[in-house]
């Protein structure tokens, strides 16, 4: 388990040697983007309000609070990763079209994203799910919000973070996929334990 600190803008060579199971801490810029942001970029081909080249996209829908004394300025109350798999259908195109280098979420992503990480040089990593105050405390500043009409969780929040992590690399630039590997192992053991459960439930008389 290697540990690496990444700073945006992230260059290809910064992430080429990362392997699944490595740990990353991010300093710099990220945006939040989940279902609707992906939809707007990949399906509706809307113009990007922010340059995403070399930065990170965080699959997350935060709780934000507008400052009472500074309208339009927000603080993060709580921000944790959401299920990355929901973005599986659009992530490959999203990476290609935006130039993001680090995708952060929870749980694994599939073959298409792994292909996307290989062809466009990017990595996917997981932030411990549900650890939303931990993550909020690593945000230095909320620079702004784009597409606020999507609502608080779905809008694109632009943030600066410091030592944001731990982020566990789950897809690397070779297309290795930690969660797909895990799932294979889980399924093998499942097939072993099922017959034992079957013998337990022979209740019919």
């Amino acid at each position: 388990m290697n540990i690496k600190h990444l700073t945006t803008p992230i260059k290809d060579e910064d992430i080429m040697d990362l392997r699944i199971g490595d740990l990353v801490y991010l300093t710099g810029r990220l945006i939040t983007g989940r279902d609707d942001v992906h939809h707007r970029v990949v399906k509706q081909h809307r113009e990007l309000p922010v340059d995403l080249n070399g930065i990170a996209v965080f699959h997350a829908g935060p709780i934000m609070k507008e400052r009472a004394d500074e309208p339009g300025k927000y603080d993060v109350i709580s921000i944790g990763p959401t299920t990355s798999m929901r973005m599986e259908n659009s992530e490959r195109d999203f990476i290609r079209e935006t130039g993001v280098k680090l995708i952060i979420g929870k749980g694994g992503m599939g073959l298409e994203t792994a292909e996307g990480c290989k062809e466009s040089i990017a990595v996917h990593g997981v932030f411990p799910g549900g650890c939303a105050v931990l993550a909020a405390e690593q945000v230095l500043d909320v620079e702004g919000v784009e597409w606020p009409e999507l609502g608080m969780p779905e809008a694109m929040w632009v943030m600066r973070v410091k030592d944001f992590g731990p982020i566990l690399i789950s897809i690397d630039t070779l297309g290795n996929n930690l969660f797909e590997d895990n799932k294979k192992k889980f399924n093998e053991v499942k097939e072993e334990v099922l017959p034992e459960l079957y013998s337990q439930v022979d209740y019919l008389k």
């Binding site: 997981v126 549900g130 105050v133 731990p166 566990l168 930690l178 079957y198 209740y203």
Partner: protein, 298 residues
């Protein structure tokens, strides 16, 4: 009932809801602590460390420990003599709006068809309220559950034919756990409902999640099955966050209802590690006790 009594009732319910978004119940913290101690994979340990550090910070900064504060569900056991019985539903709705601003909670309710976020966590039939009326009783006991997106996603229910039966149910549940469950922020609490039709199984599976960890089904066979399922699923070693580790689940809870001779329905609900389930008893004079978070005054 006076207006000020109703306001007090709303205030208690709002504070109860807000508090429970920030502090996990005692039994969940206890179980997670135990699982963390037994863990020896470095990756899994790192995830447990993050979880506990998150809980500490949430409590210190008075913020929701997970950003997904869910869609609010209340399971109400109201005494027929509870003086605010007529006001309970309205008070719960008001309490949700209040907690949404005060806690604050994430805006999580999207109306079906019209597809807009209501912005205050109430909506058509939401908060979801499940009623039981208790005769000869003048208090109300309310279970609150924050149904997050990630932990609701693996939920499923199905009617099997008796000959596929219990074996089919086991396979159905384990398939779901190893596919969808992995993304639902394990270690999971698995709620399983078994009955004769789909809504009964589904509802019981959610009720199973409301049970305190460490309790067992009263039926001996069901209690044994809970234990066996825990052992079996833990051997899959899903670990915290699905990164693999020593175990997979905090517990498996089963609830059952009699079935039709030709059907066997099974339902599953999952709770994530941030299992925000809370229970409060409010007496006729509006004195109260939090049953899931001992010694807490709101």
């Amino acid at each position: 009932m006076t207006t000020s009594e109703k306001q007090k009732f709303i205030d208690i319910l709002a504070a109860f809801t807000g508090y429970s978004s920030k502090h996990l119940p005692d039994d969940v913290v206890e179980r997670l602590t135990l699982m963390r101690e037994k863990e020896d994979s470095p990756m899994a340990k790192l995830f447990y460390d993050a979880m506990f550090s998150d809980l500490e910070k949430a409590s210190e900064l008075d913020r929701p420990c997970c950003q997904d504060t869910g869609v609010l569900q209340y399971f109400v056991q109201v005494g027929s003599g509870f003086p605010l019985i007529d006001e309970t539903e309205d008070s719960l709705r008001e309490a949700v709006k209040k907690a949404t601003i005060e806690a604050p909670l994430r805006h999580n309710v999207v109306e079906i068809f019209d597809e807009y976020n209501t912005g205050d966590n109430t909506g058509t039939r939401i908060p979801w309220i499940d009623w039981e009326v208790l005769p000869h009783c003048d208090s109300v006991t309310i279970y609150m559950y924050m149904a997050g997106g990630g932990c609701s996603l693996p939920g499923t229910a199905k009617v099997l034919m008796p000959l596929e039966g219990y074996e089919g149910a086991m396979k159905y549940i384990l398939d779901q756990v190893t596919s969808y469950g992995v993304n639902a922020c394990p270690p999971l609490l698995l709620g399983i409902g078994i009955g004769g039709s789909v809504e009964v199984a589904a509802k019981l599976s959610k009720k199973a999640l409301l049970r305190r960890i460490g309790t067992r089904n009263k039926n001996q066979k069901a209690a044994e099955l809970e234990l066996k399922m825990e052992e079996a699923i833990n051997r899959i070693k899903i670990g915290p966050g699905g990164v693999s580790g020593n175990a997979s689940v905090m517990a498996v809870h089963i609830e059952q209802a009699g079935r039709h001779p030709s059907t066997l329905a099974v339902g599953m609900s999952t709770g994530c590690w941030a299992h925000r389930r809370a229970c409060i008893r409010i007496n006729h004079d509006l004195s109260y006790e939090l049953l899931t978070h001992k010694g807490v005054t709101l």
